[in-house]
Symmetry: C2
Subunit: 400 residues, 2 copies
């Protein structure tokens, strides 16, 4: 088998029946033809016809015979084992690229530090480099599409970031087109919180939940809104942009240029800033030692300090959790979700953060909205953006 | 034709094709069989079959011949002219009952003052009385269903109000069952803001908008959320309950028992209370005169006083608009709607209120979310709850 970049349009399903069959095989794994027929409520002949065509298209392969259900044994089919999706997770301070199989299982995962503020060219060059490495290893031969997450608002239709506050130089940069032309396959670009929400929906804690919020607290703060199992993006694609919701009348100047934003108070960047101030002022010897050692502090340092009982760090987590909780209390009253999942780097603050957020939400939201509301930490953690990116593009590619 | 209450199950469409045809006839009016065939993308034979069946069911009738499109003239069909829906709008201080034809045009509309706090029995007795009057006039013979709005949270599935703050005595009262048993036809019960949103979607300012917010500011404050042309109700039916979102750390005690709620600051009841306080303190002679005359003040009095330039009334509107605006700014950032419609009694404050709300939202929400965002007053005004009630039940009854 030749191990070189293949530039050709991958095969796609031709009708809604084929699309449904492919998604069943993606989500449930190998199935007998009989089981698939039951699941899609099509006649035996029709299912056989569509499956045969999917085999011809190279999307499905046979996988032996099923146990007998009384009559002739039905043959098992599965997604072609060569089928691959790429997921790209562009964060504020790193780039992740991974390749998955058709069932969205991660096969290889590469991660490099990178400052997104360096602008689109160096970042996308790194992305393509990492893809090249995956291809060189043979893991990414039969790529059917790429799902890309970026930490800012995105025009989903056009595949471009739109005035992203923490991504200077990226405004309207043709991310989808650039990657699509380099790799010769379908590409979708979305806000990272939306993608992480899809990850939790596919393989994380929100698997059985149709309407939920995924709150990402990383360097920035964002929210993925899932309505009836699909990401709700709003009129211009900015739905869920809660980082710039106003939580106070003044406060620190935000990356967006205004004051009073949630993100300016409790993003990872804000937390690092407040921790450094505390370290320099001598209020926390633990944080001061860490600052002297590393030259800078991060949200992760605050998490470690809080876990070991440092009172300044504990206060930072408590105060941030209160602010986040107030915003979420409003959103819970408004949206009445079935679950709230908290993820992203600052979710590393863990149960201390969760306890604060829960306290405020359960106290300030309507009882009817909080009666059965789980507020939980992301199950996938750092992998949410990868699984979600693969899910995003596979939903697209496996549609008719 | 006998003019008495008929208790029988009305006919319903038998499949999705019939349902689509009926909704087209409801929304677009009489159409030729040829036009309907084009619209639903079914074969001529299949459309003829389904329409013939709808005629047999008494839901559709012939209405002459269309202009020729080149060949034989196609016959025109329309919804049966006897088809009727009832809409019931239970407000905090009044009850509206109306009957519409199949196209949701209001034929007769009765309104009686009634305090919802008197509890379900007297209020629903009045509702059934008013329905009786409509029936006695012959306007409501062939009723296919009833859509009911109430000013509080509703479990839509069960058709009961759930812990509604301004409706003491109504918690879990079987509203749907009571009306359904009395009238012998399908009944749906929903929160009034959801129903008013449906009204604007059907025949008001949001006709061409798929994702929007309808903000009702009456005695209480609520919000109808429309996603892809359908009301989004959330996990337990309380989505859009923004009246009890916290806007300050203390403030007046709310009907829900907590402090800091938006509604306790700027519902119609709060506005009337603040106006009476101002009148009694001698700060506004205009409001004092009106109070002496009427014995009590309402939000409508504030509107009149503000329109004639009374500075206290103008301040009340301005301050209320600011508070409402701040909440809406957050919701606009979160939900990125295509439109915000403001309705309900306090919308009578009109353009002064609108100007305040717009100012705050455009200043405090993300530019990407406000770029093309119309913030407008309800077009249907007091009729939004009636048209919406009819739309709610017709969507249900005309479904397969």
């Amino acid at each position: 088998m030749p191990r070189r970049a293949q530039v050709r349009r991958p095969m796609r399903p031709e009708n809604v029946h084929q699309a449904r069959l492919l998604k069943l095989l993606r989500d449930d794994g190998p199935r007998s033809r009989a089981e698939l027929g039951d699941a899609v409520a099509l006649s035996k002949t029709k299912v056989a016809l569509e499956l045969d065509r999917l085999v011809e298209l190279g999307l499905v392969v046979g996988a032996g015979l099923a146990e007998s259900r009384g009559g002739r044994r039905s043959s098992i089919v599965q997604l072609a084992p060569t089928l691959r999706f790429l997921a790209v997770d562009i964060g504020a301070t790193s780039v992740d690229v991974a390749v998955t199989d058709g069932r969205l299982q991660v096969l290889e995962h590469l991660r490099e530090p990178m400052d997104v503020r360096r602008g689109p060219m160096p970042v996308l060059d790194l992305v393509l480099d990492l893809v090249g490495k995956l291809r060189a290893s043979g893991a990414a031969d039969d790529v059917h599409g790429v799902g890309v997450g970026v930490p800012g608002p995105v025009s989903f239709r056009e595949g471009v970031p739109v005035v992203p506050p923490i991504m200077p130089g990226w405004d309207h940069f043709p991310v989808r087109e650039t990657i699509g032309q380099a790799l010769g396959c379908p590409v979708l670009v979305d806000n990272d919180a939306n993608i992480m929400a899809l990850g939790e929906l596919h393989a994380g804690t929100a698997r059985s939940v149709h309407d939920f919020l995924f709150v990402k607290v990383g360097t920035g703060i964002g929210c993925g809104i899932v309505v009836e199992g699909s990401v709700y993006r709003g009129m211009s694609g900015s739905a869920g942009d809660i980082g710039h919701m106003s939580v106070e009348d003044d406060g620190p100047v935000c990356t967006c240029g205004r004051t009073g934003c949630l993100e300016a108070r409790f993003g990872g960047a804000a937390l690092a800033r407040d921790a450094e101030t505390a370290a320099r002022s001598g209020r926390s010897s633990l944080l001061a030692d860490r600052l002297a050692e590393a030259g800078a502090l991060s949200a992760a340092d605050v998490a470690v300090a809080a876990a070991s009982g440092d009172p300044v760090a504990v206060d930072l987590v408590r105060e941030g959790g209160q602010r986040l909780g107030r915003v979420l209390a409003s959103l819970v009253s408004f949206f009445n979700p079935g679950m709230v999942v908290i993820g992203g780097g600052v979710a590393g603050l863990g149960h201390a953060l969760l306890a604060e957020v829960r306290g405020v939400v359960y106290r300030r939201s309507l009882p009817l909205a909080t009666g059965n509301l789980p507020i939980v930490l992301s199950e996938l953690g750092a992998d949410a953006g990868i699984v979600g990116g693969a899910r995003l593009i596979s939903d697209h590619v496996l549609s008719a």
